[in-house]
Structure formats: structure tokens, C-alpha cells
Symmetry: C2
Subunit: 132 residues, 2 copies
């Protein structure tokens, strides 16, 4: 029994390690080229933050709705099925990364996507998901 368990662990380890190189396989030319063209740390962090803020279903639903219409907070709360307070909190996170902006018209705050790149990101991500 112990031998079976050990064999199982060994097989699991092998499966885990099959996606690693079993030899050193450095291609110095490709490594140098990738290092030379890599973006600065600050840019990488900003883009990672942008993706992370979109990595939440409520925030994604808000962006999805705003990709179609400019909407007020009350409307967004009804659309995403969350409280205005939750929606407002999500909107602040999205605003900090300039994914959405708002304008105040009298007593109403209208939100919209901040630029075209954001509107273009969504269809690509949905197409990727649809191919799963």
C-alpha cells in the first residue's frame, strides 16, 4: 500500500515537472533581446494593476455596462445587482487606474469609460473566453 502511494506521489511529481526543461536550454540571443525590449518596472506594475482591477466580476460587469452607455451610479447598482455603496467603491478603484471617469450633471454623477483602449480590451478578453 505504501509502495502504491509512493508511486502515486512520484507520478504526480513527474507530471508537475514535465513542463520544466530537463536540461539547461539558454538561448543567449533571445534572452538578451527580451531583456533589451522589456518595459520599465513602473509600466509593468501599472499594467498589472490595471489587469488586477479588472479581475473582479463586479468591476468587470460595471465596465461591460459602461462600454455600451454612460450610466449613473443608481443605474449601475441595478444593472450589476449590488448596492450603490459597493458600486461606488468599485468605481473608485476603476477611476484610480483611469479606466472610468465621471461628470456631475446637477445632482447626478454619470460614469463612462475613460478611453477607447478599455473598450477594446473587453471584446478581446470575451473572445478568448469564448474559445475555451
Amino acid at each position: 500500500m505504501a509502495r502504491v502511494a509512493t508511486a502515486r506521489v512520484r507520478r504526480a511529481q513527474e507530471a508537475d515537472e514535465s513542463d520544466l526543461c530537463e536540461v539547461q536550454c539558454v538561448d543567449a540571443r533571445k534572452v538578451a533581446s527580451a531583456r533589451r525590449t522589456a518595459r520599465p518596472t513602473g509600466t509593468i506594475q501599472l499594467v498589472a494593476d490595471t489587469f488586477r482591477v479588472l479581475g473582479d466580476p463586479t468591476r468587470l460587469r460595471i465596465v461591460e455596462a459602461l462600454a455600451r452607455h454612460e450610466l449613473c451610479v443608481c443605474d449601475l447598482a441595478l444593472i450589476v445587482g449590488a448596492s450603490q455603496s459597493t458600486v461606488s467603491h468599485s468605481l473608485r478603484a476603476l477611476r484610480q487606474l483611469r479606466l472610468v471617469r465621471y461628470r456631475k450633471e446637477g445632482k447626478i454623477a454619470y460614469y463612462a469609460l475613460d478611453d477607447e483602449h478599455v473598450a477594446q480590451l473587453l471584446p478581446l478578453a470575451f473572445e478568448h473566453a469564448a474559445e475555451g
Copy 2:
């Protein structure tokens, strides 16, 4: 002194709430339209997971490098400046969401982006960041 502090708190609250609607502003037509066209929960979750996995600087650097070349784990570790074990862990998270795929050639595991959508997401996100 207490009065000054109270006034400060009040101003902070007002600033926090200025991005909310001060009246009920529901546009029933827009709400109904957004609800009708909203993606299913499973799709939203999958896309949120996809964005979240990209919301990490190491994983983003890996995807950035793979957008240029197919690379082995050893090369990726040198490019992103992390251990092979860290890179391998990141690659598994990316593979689970079909952002990268790998093929084994002899003893070497080569990684590449899994589809064109992923390659297209990156430039959009970098352009968005560049406009900050």
C-alpha cells in the same frame, strides 16, 4: 479643536460622496437594455479570472516576453529575473486560463502564447498605461 476635526471629517465625507448621485436617477430603458445584453455569470467569472492572472508583474513579464518569442523555462527565468520554480508556478497559472501553452521538444519545454487575443491585449493595456 474638536469642531475643526469634525469639519474635516465632514469635508472628507462630502468629497467621498461627490461621485454618487444625490437623487434617484434610474433610466429604466438603459437598465433593461444593459441587463438583457449582460454576459452570463460563468463568462464574466472566466474573464475576471483571466484579467486577475495577468494582474501580477512576473506573469505579465512572462507574457510580454512570450509575445515576442517562443521560450523555454530557463530562458524565461533569466528574462524575468526569477527562479525556474517561480516561473514554472506562474506558467501553470497562465496555462490554466489558456493564456500560454507548451510543447516538449526532447528534454526542453517551450512556451508560447496560446492565442492571438492574448497578444492583442498587451499592446492595448500598454497604450492605456502610456497615456497616464
